[in-house]
Amino acid sequence: MTSNKIENSPTAKINALSDSFKQVLKRGQQYVDLLDQLAQTDDAEELLAAAEKLAEQDLHNAFIDFPQHYQAADYCMLFMGRLLEMHNVTSVTVDENGQHEFVAMIDPLTDASFKFVVSDNGEAAFTEQTQQQPLFYMNLKQRLFQFNNRALVNYFIVYALKKHSDLELRDAIKPLIEFANELADDLNFTINLGILNTANDERFKLQEPNLQLTVIDRLFVKTGETDYMLMNLPQNSGAELLLDQGIKFDLSFDPDDYSQEWAFQVKDPGEQVSFFDILLHYTMVREWYLADRDALAVRSDQLIIADDEDDTDQSAATIPPEPESEPTEEVLSTTAIDEAPEETADDESEAVDDEETPEQKKHDEDD
């Protein structure tokens, strides 16, 4: 094969073409096999392998084009649908739309449809179509899954609650949590449930490092005409709202930690209530949170490295390090910097600079 003479001969040319066809057919056979596997296997590992390979498959060849039928996003959706089906979760329906795209419907959200949006780095964002909110991200190759806290609030708490009851929304979110847990149990995914996590020791740090105590005053005032009480935590380390059935909703910092990072925490006897549930069920807390959302927004922890939204969003690069500049734009700008990693560096320097913090504490104790 190294000699020019042989390669230039007609036989060699035909052989080359034939080899190429064989390769393409082989690849086609593999493709069909993977499709079968995705559609039929009852094994989670095989299901993942099929979805992952299909999403990566490059069917293009110099000689033959397979008609491209589905995209990586569709394989992700099929994977999700099949995994839920294997666990008898029936409230999510995956179906093909007119454009050969697989979309999901979640009962009882009759007005919403969901599609995966796959970025170049292989991260698939489960995105609600009317509001364009990416509710969670998953990466099949790296076996990562995480909910997007901001999108969850935007979609369910701000938007969907206008049309649906809190109980309907709780039902709608259930299969998504189940899907995450199935990924963890069956396939060893690293998952981050974000504000849907019900563990009592889960803390959600605020994005803004400094919290004005008047923000908590406003919640206190709101409790004045309810049966709920907002208590002071030991060492003046924050506030605790006493809700029904022993549910406690804290906004506090670790008094032993010099950085004094404020965080939300929900504690309940059965560890069944999440921060999200509190926002969903308690109008008083929800109104308070949304009215001061720029101050109270929860940081999104990053399991998944890059966020393509930030890469493409030009405004993200031009936002100054101090987001406090213009109060009216804060709500808008936080959307863009929500996941910007530069923020964390600022947190520390500001906390160290803040000479008033220990003084303040002392005053409070003296009070």
């Binding site: 008047t214 005053d217 206190f220 005032v221 009480m229 002071n232």
Partner: protein
């Protein structure tokens, strides 16, 4: 004779001294034992026999022997600290919403509640088993209970007043453009009228002119005020927040008192009876045990 008289007098005096000292020693011994065995009720009896006789034994006119009682005057702080242990334990059950801080030996500040913001409410007088409430703070609570009967809250009137002031200021900000249009309109009218003025200006013309000038002045005043309105609104909002906080604190306090005592009047009654109720509770504890008072 004189010296004999002196002698017998001296004997009388020394007798008296001896007897007085015996009383003092006996008093101190009793107190010592009571302290030793933590018989707080006896300690209270020894510290104020008159009150004990009146309120517990219902014997009136039992004067205190100041001569013996003053012996422990310089121990007041320590005795207070000592007696606070059981008293605060008792108060923890009967007044679950009060919190105490021993800011110096035997001296206790009272805090009402441990909610997000709370008030300092005076001091606990342990030796006299009495709350000595801060009168200003107490009066606020008293008044808020009275207002609650009329379905009102302590700062409602002030909050409403400031809120409507803010509405007015917001209105000024919102109507900046209308004012500007009106101003231009008046200025044009004025120009027109001015052209008819002069030495023989009709009185009607002059009246109209003056009226327009006054309107213009009013618009300018409003304009000036609207320039600082945004800042004033912000400041007012802070005041409203502070007043609302005070309302909230008072409503928590009312709620706590009603939950525990049923009404403010019953709360006051309990305060008046605190000494007797507390000492009786100590007696109840003791009756069950061997603590029969040997000194009775």
């Amino acid at each position: 004779m004189a010296s004999e008289n002196q002698d017998s007098k001296a004997v009388d005096v020394s007798q008296e001294i001896k007897s007085r000292i015996e009383t003092k020693v006996k008093y101190l011994q009793e107190l010592d034992q009571a302290i030793d065995q933590h018989r707080d009720r006896d300690v209270y009896r020894l510290l104020d026999n008159q009150r004990y006789a009146k309120e517990i034994e219902h014997r009136e006119q039992q004067p205190n022997d100041e001569g013996v009682m003053s012996l422990v005057d310089d121990l007041a702080d320590q005795l207070s600290s000592y007696l606070s242990v059981n008293l605060i334990k008792y108060l923890g059950k009967t007044y679950p919403f009060f919190y105490y801080e021993e800011y110096q030996t035997g001296h206790y500040r009272i805090y009402f509640g441990n909610w997000w913001d709370r008030r300092r409410f005076g001091e606990l007088d342990v030796l006299n088993v009495r709350f000595s409430f801060d009168q200003t703070e107490y009066e606020m609570l008293n008044k808020s209970f009275a207002l609650a009967r009329k379905d009102k809250r302590y700062n409602s009137d002030r909050i409403n007043k400031i809120s409507s002031e803010n509405d007015r200021l917001q209105d000024l900000i919102d109507h900046q453009r209308e004012r500007e249009e009106k101003r231009q309109h008046i200025q044009e009218e004025l120009k027109d009228i001015n052209s008819h003025s002069g030495l023989f200006e009709s009185s009607r013309n002059r009246a109209t002119r003056e009226e327009l000038v006054a309107q213009l002045q009013k618009l300018e005043d409003q304009e000036t005020e609207s320039r600082t309105a945004a800042q004033t609104i912000k400041e007012n909002e802070q005041v409203v927040l502070a007043l609302s906080k005070e309302n909230t604190i008072l409503s928590y306090e009312q709620k706590s008192i009603i939950d525990t005592f049923g009404s403010f009047e019953d709360f006051e009654l309990a305060n008046r009876n605190l000494y007797a109720d507390y000492l009786k509770s100590l007696a109840d504890d003791k009756d069950a045990g061997k603590q029969v008072n040997a000194n009775d």
